[in-house]
Symmetry: C2
């Protein structure tokens, strides 16, 4: 089948997404005449607008590519402290779990690729130590000064480490980049017991990875449930049960205390309990990295990230800063689910923001809308996903909600390989609008959460979902009435209670 | 994991979808007092509105269940010619392919279940030979007369067999019900060569089933592509290539001629070619079964099915018939994609229509909206799906379109098990609204086609899809930018060409 599809793909005109430049280069390679004409009037190294990007994650590399696509003559340069670029940190737990072969395989492209295919310069292992917004220049750690016409800050976030004693001991790890991943991989070889601090999706994915590698794993979480805030307690309990079945232990509602050890971690205080361990994973949340934004004096939102306009431009004392753009974990943006700002902290949001920042930095025009931030996580064999408001978030905003629930399978009951699927929909009691969705199941949640997310985005009521949101059906791919539809039917009935 | 989820499900309040009655019975069983009160004032057998349903497919059985749920005192009776009820005919090819164990396993419930759990009488192997709308009565083949207060016709469709010589020879099969399936299964045991007439989704699914059972298979199709009308030629070629790779032969643009044989099929004329064969599968489309509707004098739509209102009621010389309801393959309904009526002929549509017919027949109120009819088919290891308008249908309606395409994988490139995925979106050139979607790939198409379908339903433009239709992301479940989003980005670029 692969062969069939690939053959077809080749017979099609090439996809144009992000390949305008590559297409141009291909023409150059095949035609000396065009090559000469192309090169004559310009010299890419010295002409054109100077677009400088700091950060090489999903936001930074997407911004660089879109800047190049928007302005073929600009000089596009990316600075990054990292050695590896263009990879998804979301993949790290799955490399450690052994699902993905190794770290090199998650790196999509190297700097040479960007040089050759997109005429983008990427300077790795290079720290930007300061920025001067008046002079429009960066200073690198080696003292070098780099001028810019447009600056894109995609500096991401840093793991928030609670202020506990011993947090800097060897054996305490973060999960932000490949260097972290390699350190953890090495430490796992000799470790027997691990503590994961934080039961968010990264914490749970890491707990599964460590458990499947044979370690004894305890997750310590300050909140009284796993996946707090974005996931409701009922769904969370299900995920926790699954993790417990595969042998992961939990201490919920328990603050992380001192980390003890003589030159290396030997135990962690979880409340009043001392947990002996060889390694600690800090999955305690991410805060925006504000070093450079603060040097520029950019306005910070109440969430502690840079406030940006729909064009991904920051403000300084309330006024738009024209030559600076931001994208990714460093910014907060408007929520489509709740009043006020939100932080997505998702790779999928970072690429969308990077696209807008890159286009605008290069003189094009694009806007970034309010976000719902649909999310999905693979916790061992279980997928869990959500979009829009959780019950808890709705309560915080004073919204009275109605909840509908259904369970079923991902395929017809009699079709082999089907997995359990539980769907919960949350609606505003007054308007009947669907404002949140959560799901857990064994497979095929991605399209389903996107589908539910579109209903939230488009202000669809529970009743409209039941009557108009048809599901496709084939015994191998869903029940005749999909579980999402069943949850909507249940939701409609709740008003009659 | 299964255990974890099921345990959770049991800890929840019971789902209410379609179980109001079952809940009531459970209370009866546990409380003699309530039982006595419950039974005193009524006798289900002789009191209440008489609701009669003809047909026991997805539409008929759903209508019966919803009628019961809406009116707990009604007398609900289903008549069906079939012996088996409550199964999805869509499953038949997969039983024959060996994916699903056997025919009994696709039957969800037997008549005794409906009697016991829902107080619905199902009379199998019973033919309704006539209906009198003035007297509000049916006559059965055995002469018995059955009065009704409300009648639901869910008589489905019949395979359209082209008027060719020999179409009634032994060895020529239809694929409508389990009886057909069992006949085909028996015939396959001794057959070596099969011809499938019709390359729609049922034809292709049957071709795969026969091929995988070791038969030599040729598909003969009058149109010049597989899956005509609902699928565009480019997507269709891909599906055909896959089928050819697994050894299925095609004769496209070729009319089916005479079927020859001496007491049993021995060959089929496909155009001027004689194809020797032991069996022929007629997958040549379905026409509404209008026997009873015609006796009632109901208005028929230009598509040859019963025209119904949003309440699933028919018309007679333009006036609504109050006591009759219809659902499933016997009706046409409004299209949400194109002007005028459409026939879904989908199980997923039948259950939705059955719900509305059942509620309304029992005195409740529900409406059935215009449909997009998202569809999905499993052709061997390939899934193919669509929603809204195909390029061909748009041309028929004089709509100028713009097409966007993207290919990728169902998971991150480096995550094992990912399958190819190709997505095509079709937009109205003038309004930029997305009006159609088609996909082919190895897994996880169901949620994705529902997602794209919601964009068509809600009048979303290509630009809005790119900016606002966020996708959830996890390396095991999608690329960081889903292929559907990539197709939308490609679509937006096409206006710049």
């Amino acid at each position: 089948m692969r062969a069939g599809i690939i053959r077809f793909a080749l017979a099609q005109p090439p996809a144009r997404n992000g390949r305008a430049h590559r297409g141009a280069r291909a023409s150059i390679a095949t035609s000396a005449i065009i090559n000469n004409i192309w090169n004559m009037p310009q010299n890419w190294e010295n002409m054109g607008k100077k677009i400088v990007i700091v950060g090489s994650g999903a936001a930074g590399m997407t911004a660089a590519s879109l800047a190049r696509e928007t302005d073929r003559e600009a000089e596009v340069t990316v600075f990054t402290e990292e050695e590896h670029i263009a990879y998804s940190p979301c993949a790290i737990p799955f490399v450690l779990e052994g699902k993905i072969k190794d770290f090199p395989s998650i790196v999509m492209h190297d700097p040479e690729f960007y040089r050759r295919e997109r005429n983008i310069t990427v300077r790795t292992a290079t720290t930007v130590s300061s920025v001067d917004g008046d002079k429009k220049a960066l200073t690198l750690a080696n003292g070098e000064t780099v001028a810019y016409d447009a600056l894109i800050l995609a500096t991401g976030g840093r793991v928030f480490v609670p202020p506990v004693e011993g947090a800097d001991l060897p054996g305490v790890f973060r999960v932000r980049n490949i260097a972290d991943g390699i350190e953890i991989q090495n430490a796992m070889k000799n470790a027997k017991r691990a503590v994961v601090a934080g039961a968010g999706v990264i914490g749970l994915e890491m707990a599964v990875a460590l458990k499947r590698a044979g370690l004894d794993v305890t997750v310590v979480e300050m909140f009284s449930q796993v996946i707090p805030r974005i996931c409701d307690d009922d769904m969370a309990r299900m995920v926790q049960s699954y993790c417990e079945e595969i042998g992961i232990k939990f201490m919920l509602g328990t603050p992380l205390g001192a980390i003890k050890g003589d030159g290396k971690v030997s135990s962690v205080m979880a409340g009043l309990t001392e947990l002996p361990c060889d390694m600690v994973i800090m999955a305690t949340g991410v805060r925006a990295n504000l070093d450079l934004p603060n040097m520029l004096g950019l306005d910070i939102s109440p969430l502690g990230a840079v406030r940006v306009s729909a064009t991904m431009q920051p403000y300084k004392r309330g006024r738009l800063v024209p030559s600076v753009f931001l994208a990714g974990d460093v910014v907060s943006c408007e929520s489509a689910a709740a009043p006020g700002p939100t932080m997505s902290q998702l790779g999928s949001t970072a690429v969308r923001q990077g696209r807008v920042a890159g286009i605008n930095a290069a003189g094009g025009y694009a806007t970034f809308p309010a976000v719902l931030s649909p999310w999905i996580s693979q916790v061992g064999d279980m997928q869990v996903a959500g979009a829009g408001m959780s019950k808890g978030l709705a309560a915080y905003y004073g919204i009275e909600v109605v909840e509908g629930r259904a369970s079923g399978l991902t395929r017809a009951r009699y079709y082999p390989g089907g997995k359990p699927l539980i769907v919960k929909l949350i609606a505003d009691r007054e308007s009947h609008r669907i404002i949140g969705a959560q799901m857990a199941g064994g497979e095929e949640l991605n399209g389903r959460i996107n589908w539910a997310s579109s209903a939230i985005l488009k202000d669809v009521t529970a009743e409209e979902f039941v009557t108009s949101f048809e599901n496709a059906y084939c015994p191998s791919t869903s029940m005749v009435k999909d579980v999402v539809n069943k949850a909507a039917e249940d939701l409609v009935k709740r008003w009659k209670d």
